[in-house]
């Protein structure tokens, strides 16, 4: 198990400084329609240094240039991006001057990379072990037998099950969290000096994320490798890194040690990021008569054998929010499909405003459909790319209320006003909107139908924290004005705290805990809710160790 710290190889050349980036400038060429191609600056004048064995967290919203900087440590520009200025010095030499041959010697030996989606990064046609040892063998660091021995030791260190034989499996035969750890083992196998982690836990469930995070942290500590840890989640980066660098629009905002950044941020923007989830939401008491009640619903796909929903019973009251929480595969979205009629339940009934809704979508009346609207997770595929914002929002008005011409246009303008976007967006196409704006248009489309209930399926998961926060505030305001109820599907407990009145926790298709927000979120907890709650990263140094120690239940898929 014991492995000499990787830094031992490099000692003597530069005792402490492993990576130094000076005044880095990265550009890309964009081709806007109807205009001449032009160069835009993605990263502008960023400098950083990293000592051996230290972890630097790079954080920022999408488009902040954090991945681009991370990849520049390997001399790589993704998707036509060019490094046009500055120096990247690793082990005392400027890798940007070393040419393609020099870069090949560097990549996979001195610097390794862990990608966001391990499932997409592994070659599905080769066994895990072949891929893990490949770089070490190619660079002549070890022969096959040594490399495999090393890999097995790493599998053990990363607490993968059956470390001796897991290498014989193919990528699709292990879970997402395991695959991410195998990828970390792959990066560590050639004993590099530096690893670039590019959002390694973003695609994972919280309950899985915590295990992967702990494994990565242990591996970094034990091998003494230095790391650049890229993420948009400040709470995650606070657990693993020694220092944090906050980036925005390709420029440095703030750089300091972890404690300082999360406790005493000096810049406004950092402060916003740190305090992002603090929406105070007073819980409303349920009325006498629920708006929607789902009774003993059991459903399966394709008339199949496995029930995806098992005997689910929940109520939603007018003007209130029911949050449905759970990890992926717990049946949250299936519940939404059953309520909307896209997946008729096998058993059970759905009552809306006192009347029983027909199970099938085709049997429902126009009014049933109007009163129950849906907002999707991916706003960009939820809108027809060939329709303008005006058409998208205007269509429900035409369809349900028969509005035409000036009357319709006036209402569309009102709705655009309500979602805090101006009339100027009427003629835009979805491709011309930002992520947050797209989601707002989807909200307006749902509101146009004057619904009594809106199903929000992970509506903020694809958005940056600050933008997501804006959407949540908007939804709360709209609820106050329009008295609309929400069924809010999410995997994020922080979101739940800021928006829910009651909560249903789902696990493997069944509701394991259900009640008002205060009931559900106060002890005593059942084992799964406890795991879910304790897995949500908190912005506190040392949280990870505490959480792991306090767990009562193993996360699924491990």
């Amino acid at each position: 198990m014991a492995k000499a710290p990787a830094s031992a190889q490099g000692v003597g050349k530069t005792p402490d400084k492993l990576l130094e980036i000076r005044d880095l400038k990265i550009e890309a060429t964009v081709y806007p329609p109807g205009e001449a191609p032009k160069d835009i600056v993605i990263v502008d004048g960023v400098s950083l240094t990293l000592e051996r064995g230290k972890v630097l967290g790079l954080i920022g919203e999408s488009g902040a240039g954090k991945s681009t900087i991370g990849l520049s440590a390997m001399g790589y520009g993704r998707g036509g991006v060019r490094i046009t200025g500055g120096q990247v010095i690793i082990n005392g030499r400027d890798i940007l001057k070393s040419g393609i041959g020099g870069l090949r010697k560097l990549r996979g030996k001195e610097v390794c990379y862990v990608a966001q989606s391990a499932a997409a990064a592994f070659n599905p046609a080769h066994k895990l072990m072949d891929q893990v040892v490949e770089a070490a063998m190619l660079h002549g660091v070890a022969n096959r037998a040594e490399a495999e021995k090393r890999a097995v030791a790493l599998f053990k260190k990363l607490s993968l099950p059956n470390p001796e034989v897991i290498g014989n499996r193919y990528p699709h035969q292990v879970s997402g969290g395991q695959l991410q750890r195998v990828m970390t083992a792959m990066a560590l196998c050639s004993e590099p000096d530096l690893i670039v982690f590019d959002e390694p836990t973003t695609a994972l469930d919280v309950t899985t994320q915590i295990d992967v995070l702990a494994a990565i942290k242990d591996a970094i500590r034990d091998t003494g490798v230095a790391a650049l840890y890229i993420t948009h989640d400040l709470a995650v980066v606070a657990q693993v890194s020694d220092e944090i660098m906050v980036l925005r629009h390709g420029k440095l905002v703030e750089w300091g040690d972890t404690h300082q950044i999360i406790r005493e941020p000096r810049k406004d923007y950092t402060n916003q990021l740190v305090s992002v989830h603090r929406i105070e939401h007073e819980e409303k008491t349920p009325g006498d008569k629920p708006l929607l009640s789902v009774k003993n619903v059991t459903a399966a796909y394709g008339g199949g054998v496995v029930d995806v929903l098992k005997n689910v019973t929940v109520d939603i009251h007018p003007g209130q929010t029911l949050a449905v929480v759970g990890e992926s595969g717990s049946g949250k979205s299936t519940l939404a499909r059953a309520i909307t009629g896209l997946l008729p339940p096998r058993e059970g009934s759905i009552t809306f405003d006192g009347r029983t809704l027909p199970a099938k979508l085709a049997d429902r009346t126009k009014n049933d459909l109007r009163e129950l609207q849906m907002i999707y997770q991916m706003a960009d595929v939820a809108m027809n790319p060939r329709q303008t914002v005006g058409t998208i929002i205007g269509r429900p008005l035409e369809f349900y209320f028969g509005m035409r011409g000036a009357e319709r246009d006036r209402r569309v303008a009102e709705l655009l006003e309500e979602i805090e976007m101006g009339k100027g967006f009427l003629d835009r196409y979805p491709a011309e909107l930002s992520g947050g704006q797209k989601q707002r248009v989807c909200i307006a489309r749902a509101l146009a139908a004057k619904p009594r209930l809106i199903i929000c399926d992970e509506v903020t998961s694809a958005l940056d924290p600050l933008v997501a926060n804006g959407i949540l505030k908007l939804l709360l305001n709209l609820q106050a004005v329009e008295n609309v109820a929400y069924l809010f599907i999410t995997h994020d407990i922080a979101t739940v705290r800021s928006i829910a009145d009651s909560i249903a926790v789902m696990y493997r298709g069944a509701v394991v805990r259900y009640g008002s927000k205060s009931q559900v979120l106060s002890p005593p907890f059942d084992a799964y809710t406890d795991l879910l709650l304790s897995s949500v990263p908190e912005m506190e140094v040392g949280w990870l160790e505490k959480a792991i120690k306090g767990r009562r239940m193993e996360a699924a898929g491990n």
Partner: protein
């Protein structure tokens, strides 16, 4: 619309030739120096100032017949393509949206039609039916629509499972709206470039039929038929058969160049205005 300034040279040549050919076909009556079946000289006269392309096997002016032939060829091919597209695309989209048994029956029927070689099938049908322009268009259109059906069903199946189509279904929209307003605009790019290729196949198909004597009937002129009428001249070194053959080739290549260019420019599902 595509920017004409950034048009690649190949596409520019293709576009120019296509426009010239279509223009001469449309205005054949105005441009042609002689009548369609007017005998103006000897058999197979060489090219001269009077007869730019010479005369054909009956002594008719070849240039005039080329122009009238272009008109007939393109009219029949164009209408057959339009028929195959409307039929194939609508059935393909409907099959994708309705799915289930409707899709199954329709797709297997199309498989059945496609398993018989088009030319042989066309020959059998046309030797039974009277050879009028209308039958030609119907036979060619229906046979070609199987290909369009395949393509548009494949494209629509992909689009049909996207969230915006689901949103429309949840809104309660009818099939007409979903097919024509949600799916069609997003399926148009691959279909438009296919349109060019299918038109060319229709021209080639018609020429083949006419060459075999089952297409356009004399005295009407069309390019395939003109190759047949003049083919005996080739052994005597007379190029009259090669000129319509060359015209078919030029039309095929130039429309292909344009279709390729359109396909290159529009192979994204990004939508919005134009494509970058």
């Amino acid at each position: 619309m595509p920017d004409l300034k950034t048009i690649p040279i190949g596409a520019a040549i293709g576009l120019f030739l296509t426009v010239v050919l279509v223009f001469s076909a449309v205005f054949a009556q105005v441009l042609a120096p002689y009548g369609l079946s007017q005998i103006v000289g000897d058999v197979w006269e060489p090219m001269s100032a009077e007869h730019w392309l010479g005369t054909d096997n009956l002594g008719r002016d070849l240039l005039s017949r080329m122009l009238y032939g272009a008109q007939t060829t393109m009219l029949i091919a164009g209408l057959a393509t339009a028929l195959s597209f409307s039929l194939g695309a609508i059935l393909g989209f409907t099959a994708a949206v309705i799915g289930g048994w409707f899709d199954m029956i329709l797709s297997r029927l199309v498989d059945l039609l496609m398993s018989i070689p088009t030319l042989i099938f066309g020959l059998v049908v046309l030797s039974v039916l009277p050879s009028t322009v209308l039958t030609l268009i119907l036979v060619m259109g229906i046979l070609d629509s199987t290909r369009v059906y395949r393509l548009s069903r494949a494209v629509a199946v992909d689009i049909n499972v996207m969230d915006f189509v689901e949103a429309a279904k949840l809104r309660g929209e009818g099939r007409g709206w979903i097919i024509f307003r949600e799916i069609l605009p997003n399926a148009l790019s691959p279909l438009v470039s296919e349109l060019g290729l299918r038109f060319i196949f229709a021209v080639l198909f018609l020429s083949a039929l006419s060459f075999l004597g089952l297409g356009v009937q004399p005295p009407e002129a069309d390019w395939g038929g003109m190759v047949r009428e003049n083919k005996e001249g080739i052994v005597f070194g007379i190029p009259a058969a090669l000129i319509p053959a060359a015209a078919i080739a030029v039309l095929a290549i130039s429309v292909n160049l344009v279709a390729d260019w359109i396909l290159n420019r529009t192979t994204s599902l990004k939508g919005g205005r134009g494509n970058g």
